[in-house]
């Protein structure tokens, strides 16, 4: 690389740095406070690298978080290297990439942002050969494109993804929605306190309903049946979540819910001895049912069997 020869080392004022600039952004969502404490104690041991994009305007290449910490500590000057404007974005991003990947694993949110940027900057074959092996992403197959789409999501969604509270497949679906829809969906699922798997179920079903019926996700989640539940503060959050999931399930699988209800009503009419469970066939794919008998001892099982046997009509005829 040629950039090394051109680094100029100097002291810069944090006030002159555009730390919001995303040209060489590689997300890291770990807590900044640890870094702030460390820098307060010993200063910045490894100087950051910036690029001068226009006279007096510097953007971070390596060490964005160190610079953010320095700014929060109100440092007036930071010793840093400066890359000239002529260094290409490709080179600068590769620098940031290799510096970061060497020191920490990327979560899925960071991986997605990085993949998106790499695909913007480099030919696909270069991304596949040079960068993806370090990210553990297969160059073939749909995941690469999925990550690219996720990498363009809004920061609040990426943060939830990075925190493991949103599955990658859910984020991929959200990427197919309009920004206001996905952010609304994020708030909605947050308000229900759903874990990642239940959130995935709700997102997928609402997405399906929206595509199938051509009716936006926001319309579904503001439907009066949902609002009646989410606005009912006599219910706990988990109770609300359970009811909302039931409503959505009934929208998505009306026949299944009807079958379950009919089966439940039929079963309710029968005597139900302890230790006996009756189940329908899987997904109601047949009329067959399954009766399961369980007891704590052979004696108990025998008692249940006898009880069922006695309830059976006697055989008639010869």
């Amino acid at each position: 690389m040629t950039w090394l020869d051109h680094i100029r080392w100097t002291d810069l004022e944090p006030a002159h740095m555009d730390l919001e600039d995303r040209t060489y952004y590689i997300p890291c969502r770990s807590d900044l406070q640890g870094l702030v404490r460390s820098i307060r104690q010993v200063g910045i041991l490894s100087p950051p690298l910036l690029q001068e994009r226009s006279p007096g305007r510097f953007i971070p290449v390596i060490g964005r978080r160190r610079l953010m910490a320095a700014r929060s500590l109100e440092f007036t000057r930071v010793h840093a290297g400066v890359l000239p404007e002529t260094v290409l974005e490709q080179e600068g991003f590769a620098l940031a990439f290799w510096d970061n990947i060497a020191t920490r694993p990327f979560d899925v949110g960071a991986t997605a942002v990085v993949v998106r940027r790499l695909l913007d900057l480099f030919p696909r074959i270069t991304v596949a050969d040079l960068f993806l092996p370090s990210l553990g992403v297969q160059p073939e197959g749909p995941r690469l494109e999925r990550l690219r789409a996720i990498g363009g999501l809004e920061e609040p969604i990426l943060a939830v993804l990075s925190a493991g509270k949103l599955l990658e497949k859910s984020a991929a679906l959200m990427a197919l929605l309009k920004p206001e829809e996905r952010l609304g969906l994020l708030d909605f699922t947050e308000s229900l306190g759903l874990n990642a798997n239940k959130r995935a179920e709700v997102i997928e079903r609402l997405f399906d309903l929206s595509v199938l019926h051509g009716k936006g996700v926001l319309e579904w989640i503001t439907d009066e049946r949902i609002s009646a539940v989410t606005g009912n503060h006599e219910l706990s959050v988990p109770e609300r979540a359970a009811k909302v999931r039931e409503i959505i399930k009934a929208w998505k699988f009306p026949e299944l819910v009807r079958s379950e209800q009919a089966f439940g009503s039929w079963l309710a009419r029968l005597p139900q001895p302890d230790g006996v469970v009756v189940r329908p066939s899987t997904r109601f794919e047949a009329e067959r049912c399954k009766m399961e008998l369980s007891g704590l001892s052979r004696e108990e099982v025998e008692r249940i069997i006898r009880m069922i046997g006695e309830g059976r009509p006697r055989k008639t005829g010869a």
Binding site: P139, P142, L209, L212, F253, P254, L256, R258, F284, A286
Partner: protein, 364 residues
Amino acid sequence: MRFPIDRILIDEDARDEPLTEEILGRLPHVPYGVGNQFSVLCRELALERDPLAGGKRILRLMRHKGAFLKPCPGTRNYVCCGLEILHIGQGCPMDCTYCALQVYLNRPVIEVFVNLDDLLRDLKESVAHSGRGFRRICTGEFTDSLALEPLTGLSARLVSFFSYLENASLELKTKTDFIESLLDVDPRGRTVLSFSVNSPAIAAREEFRAAALDRRIAAASRAQERGYRIGFHFDPIIPETDWSTGYFRTIDEIFRRVDGSGIAWISLGVLRFVPHLKDAVTSRFGPLPYFHDGFLSGLDGKSRLHSDRRIAIYRLMAERIRSRHKDCRIYLCMESPYVWEKSLGISMGSNDDLRTYLDDAVAA
């Protein structure tokens, strides 16, 4: 030749096959290369956003080294028709949005097996030496049976080959109307020429590069006049809103133009798919409403609509078909005995039952 082919790759060991020569002769302006460029090209394609888009325009001529005849990959819990697959190649130049091959095949190009002598030898030995009863053999599982017929002429040869067999029949399954080469061959009752059909709207919207529906039906009618038994496959049935109107129109059109007594069978299959097909389709075509219906995980892990819905669909379809030809042999593709009974009123308890039911249509 109707499908666009941009490039031909010929495996080194396939260059001297007569069929290779024939195909090159029919595509004189298409550039071709011989040798081991295949893996390089496959990697290039695999890195594309949609490898199939490019792959469907590339023809690979190769020798098939495995068995040519394979059992149909049926699954437990559902009644399978016992069809065997004659592997003539894989991949398809058409592009139906619901096509299962999008996730089933691991190479995106169209492959033609040019070692015809091996294929016919395999077939002959298998049919001659099998202790099994009647054999129904089809070429349209990993490809469309006739999509490349103008290039290969293979199906016409197969029709001729099967016409002298006592214990086997051939089924050619297609969404094309490429039947010219078949019209001068007498099938002697041993070939069923089957057309995959759909509602007019689905056929026009979801089956890219396939022949228009009325051309398929016209081809069926012409082939019937030349002595072919005809089959129709309504598969996948996609039950959009007001679905029956379009499907009934297709049924009516079929019986208006094709003699019902010469129809060997009509199969019905409501859309079902391996779950990751939905993701693959979404990434290629964007979200398609019909893939987002209430699909449940079926007994074989495939996504299926609730059995009540499938039963209602099959019942209506069967009623319409029977109203046009009351003895029409209708069968369900990969459905449970319960669904058979409830929708068609036919007790189809096992694979053997279905095999016999279909053998009866062609064994005579």
